[in-house]
């Protein structure tokens, strides 16, 4: 077998077998499952708990029944119960934990409902809000009937104004599409961000480990450093694809399964229902290119350090670049057509995230995306050629200093003079 493939699969299989990799993958699968099933999980916990009981002290003797009805439609887990006794007794019952709170109902001067809510703490705003809106509706109905409004008139009064956004630009995305795209882009940005940081530093670590354990000299005497570097980048790349495939398929099927039960819910608005093919292909393209860009950078930075402890320090500037790109992309989610976003989408270190954001959220001409991809590919090739030369010298260098001056030294080593 070709030496390139030997290194590639050695890197891949060895990393695959490590405990840390298996644990990380398992953990992220669990988290993915958790996130995609969040609503079911919350439900399970809520079902497990008792219904929350609120004591009602009704001074009027009329408001309790209609309020109970209102609340039962608003929140099934909230139970109202009329309390027979004094206020003091009710407060005691709350203190003993029998009820979560007390509502005191009475009429105000206008003969409209008024209430006080008492609880051990008022941190749980959900109960209060539900009670408040239930009471509000009752008040509205009572007030309306007082001034003799028909239910139709009342409905008219509360009907929201019809207000539609329409983009004039041809092919522009509608508001609904934009929201969907935003959700999808958001998720994929996270994937790109974490993957680039994680796998790029994995490569830098790998190179530095070989160097610090001094096995590097045997390796480079058998296989050219350039071949080694790219075999390693591809090996880790394969690893990242394996991990992502596992995660994405787990996430995808989990969401698919939930979609049928949660039609029109949370996931629909996040745009998972109908992901467009072009967005997915752009995501794949930008992920792969982004990976190569940062992996090449990480490999040659890793080749410059002699000790594993120095790796983090060396790749910090690179990590900051990724973070900056991510921050800009986050800002761009709200304003994808601002000039700042347009400009930064052509800067190769940001392109994978920001150009992807633009193609995902806007309908930009194909040439713009193509141009950015071309610049990105050009940068990758340049970095690969330059990085390979640094790598070749860097792996022979052992010393204390770990500064960027070493790049110059490493390049000098590969020169004839």
């Amino acid at each position: 077998m070709n030496k390139f493939w030997i290194i590639l699969f050695h890197t891949y299989l060895n990393k695959l077998k490590t405990k840390s990799f298996l644990v990380t993958t398992l953990l992220t699968v669990v988290i993915t499952l958790g996130l995609t099933n969040m609503s079911s999980i919350i439900e399970v916990f809520d079902k497990g708990g008792d219904k929350e009981k609120v004591a009602v002290l009704d001074e009027t003797g009329q408001l309790y029944e209609p309020l109970k009805e209102q609340i039962s439609t608003l929140n099934k887990n909230l139970q109202l119960k009329e309390f027979d006794g004094t206020e003091k007794e009710a407060e005691k019952a709350v203190e003993e934990g029998e009820y979560v709170g007390i509502v005191e109902l009475r009429y105000d001067a206008e003969q409209l409902p008024e209430a006080t809510y008492k609880a051990m703490s008022v941190a749980d705003s959900a109960i209060f809000t539900d009670l408040q809106s239930g009471l509000q509706q009752m008040k509205t109905m009572l007030a309306a009937s007082k001034i003799k409004l028909t239910p139709e008139q009342l409905q008219q009064l509360y009907e929201p104004v019809s207000f539609e956004k329409i983009a004039l630009e041809e092919n522009a995305k509608t508001e609904e599409e934009l929201n969907q795209a935003r959700g999808l882009v958001y998720v994929l940005l996270f994937v790109i961000y974490f993957a680039v940081i994680m796998y790029a530093s994995m490569i830098a670590m790998e190179v530095a480990t070989e160097k610090s354990s001094r096995v590097m000299e045997i390796l480079i005497s058998s296989v050219s450093p350039i071949k080694q570097m790219f075999a390693k980048i591809l090996g880790i790349g394969l690893l990242s694809l394996t991990q992502l495939t596992v995660l994405l398929s787990v996430g995808y099927f989990s969401i698919k399964r939930n979609l049928s039960s949660l039609e029109g819910g949370f996931f629909d608005s996040f745009g998972f229902g109908n992901i467009s093919l072009s967005t997915i292909s752009y995501a794949v393209i930008f992920f792969i290119l982004g990976y190569f860009l940062y992996a090449t950078l990480a490999a040659f930075l890793g080749s410059l350090v002699s000790r594993i402890e120095d790796v983090q320090q060396m790749i910090t500037p690179m990590t900051l670049l990724v973070v900056a790109g991510f921050m800009i992309a986050m800002f761009g989610l709200g304003k994808p057509d601002s000039p700042f976003i347009v400009i930064t989408s052509y800067i190769p270190f940001f392109t994978p995230m920001i150009m992807f954001l633009r193609v995902g959220m806007l309908n930009i001409p194909v040439w713009e995306a193509a141009l950015a991809i071309a610049i990105l590919v050009g940068t990758i090739i340049f970095l690969a050629v330059f990085g390979a030369r640094v790598y070749r010298g860097g792996v022979l260098m052992y010393g204390k200093s770990n500064s960027f001056k070493d790049i110059k030294k490493a390049l000098q080593l590969t020169k004839k003079e």
Binding site: E210, I218, S221
Partner: protein, 299 residues
């Protein structure tokens, strides 16, 4: 099967690491590189292996330049020892052997032979980090020779080993030589080179200052060592014409002399002065030559 270095020079910027080095190492030879730290030995090896390009000159193996297409013919034990700490010995050796073009099954059976030979067969499934330093060196040596290279380059192979392991490794190296491997090795321990090499080269600050067959070098050096133990004072000999260096010992005196003729004269002069318990003329040791050529700054 000749390794040929022709006027090889290596410069790093303004610094010249190796200067005009010309060596021919015939097949099945053991060639020794001597030199202090920083003399340019490792740089020379790296150039032979193609890890560094020479600034000037040419390096050929059998008339062909050495590069990655010939790497299966070359074995290398780097000065800086190291293996993957977390990998099992067998995985490690198989991986490195495959990178040198040896199939997996062959590498495994060869590894068994070597481990038996070094009397450590139980290490096959151990992780490298669990082994002692000396045993790691054995594994590293196996990694360098497992693919049966024609040209073997050993950078300081015996440093850091206990005497038993040094002997074991020496035997292994000699048996490889018997089988026809051309071996180049460096050391700053003279006696290893003196014992094992027919040809050698002493490097000093990048320049080869002595180069040739061991016997020739000793003969050309001319100077000899004379050891005299006697019952009467020998201090007067320190100023004797032809005596280069002297060293007094408790029993007598060690002299370095210009040639055999000096010894003859001294013997005639002192023979009547009293009882001479020892009068011995020795060949110069490589150590003497090295110190003479490189200077007293070393060792």
């Amino acid at each position: 099967m000749v390794l040929k270095l022709e006027h090889v020079t290596k410069r790093f910027g303004d610094f010249t690491a190796v200067k005009d080095l010309s060596i021919t190492i015939p097949e099945k030879e053991m060639f020794g590189f001597l030199g202090a730290n920083g003399a340019g030995k490792t740089t020379t090896f790296r150039m032979i292996l193609g890890l560094l390009d020479s600034s000037d000159g040419k390096i050929t193996w059998n008339g062909q330049p050495i590069n990655y297409s010939t790497s299966h013919l070359v074995g290398y034990l780097p000065e800086e020892r190291g293996l993957y700490p977390k990998l099992k010995v067998s995985d490690q050796i198989v991986y490195l052997a495959r990178l040198r073009g040896m199939p997996k099954s062959e590498a495994l059976s060869e590894l068994k032979i070597w481990l038996d030979r070094f009397k450590v067969p139980e290490y096959e499934n151990k992780k490298v980090e669990e082994l002692s330093k000396g045993n790691q060196q054995k594994i590293q040596f196996i990694a360098a020779v497992i693919h049966k290279p024609e040209l073997l380059i050993l950078d300081e192979p015996f440093s850091g080993l206990d005497p038993v392991n040094v002997e074991m490794l020496k035997e292994a190296v000699l048996s490889l030589k018997e089988k026809g491997t051309t071996i180049v090795f460096s050391s700053h321990q003279m006696h290893h080179v003196e014992e094992m090499c027919e040809h050698l080269c002493i490097m000093h600050k990048g320049t080869p200052i002595v180069h040739g067959a061991l016997k020739e070098i000793k003969r050309a050096f001319g100077k000899k060592n004379l050891v005299i133990h006697a019952d009467f004072p020998l201090d007067s000999l320190k100023a004797y014409p032809g005596v280069v260096k002297t060293k007094s010992t408790t029993e007598g005196i060690h002299l370095q002399i210009d040639g055999e003729y000096v010894a003859e004269k001294i013997l005639k002069d002192i023979v009547n002065k009293g009882f001479i318990r020892k009068f011995e003329l020795e060949e110069p040791s490589l150590n003497d030559i090295f110190i003479e050529k490189v200077g007293d700054t070393y060792e």
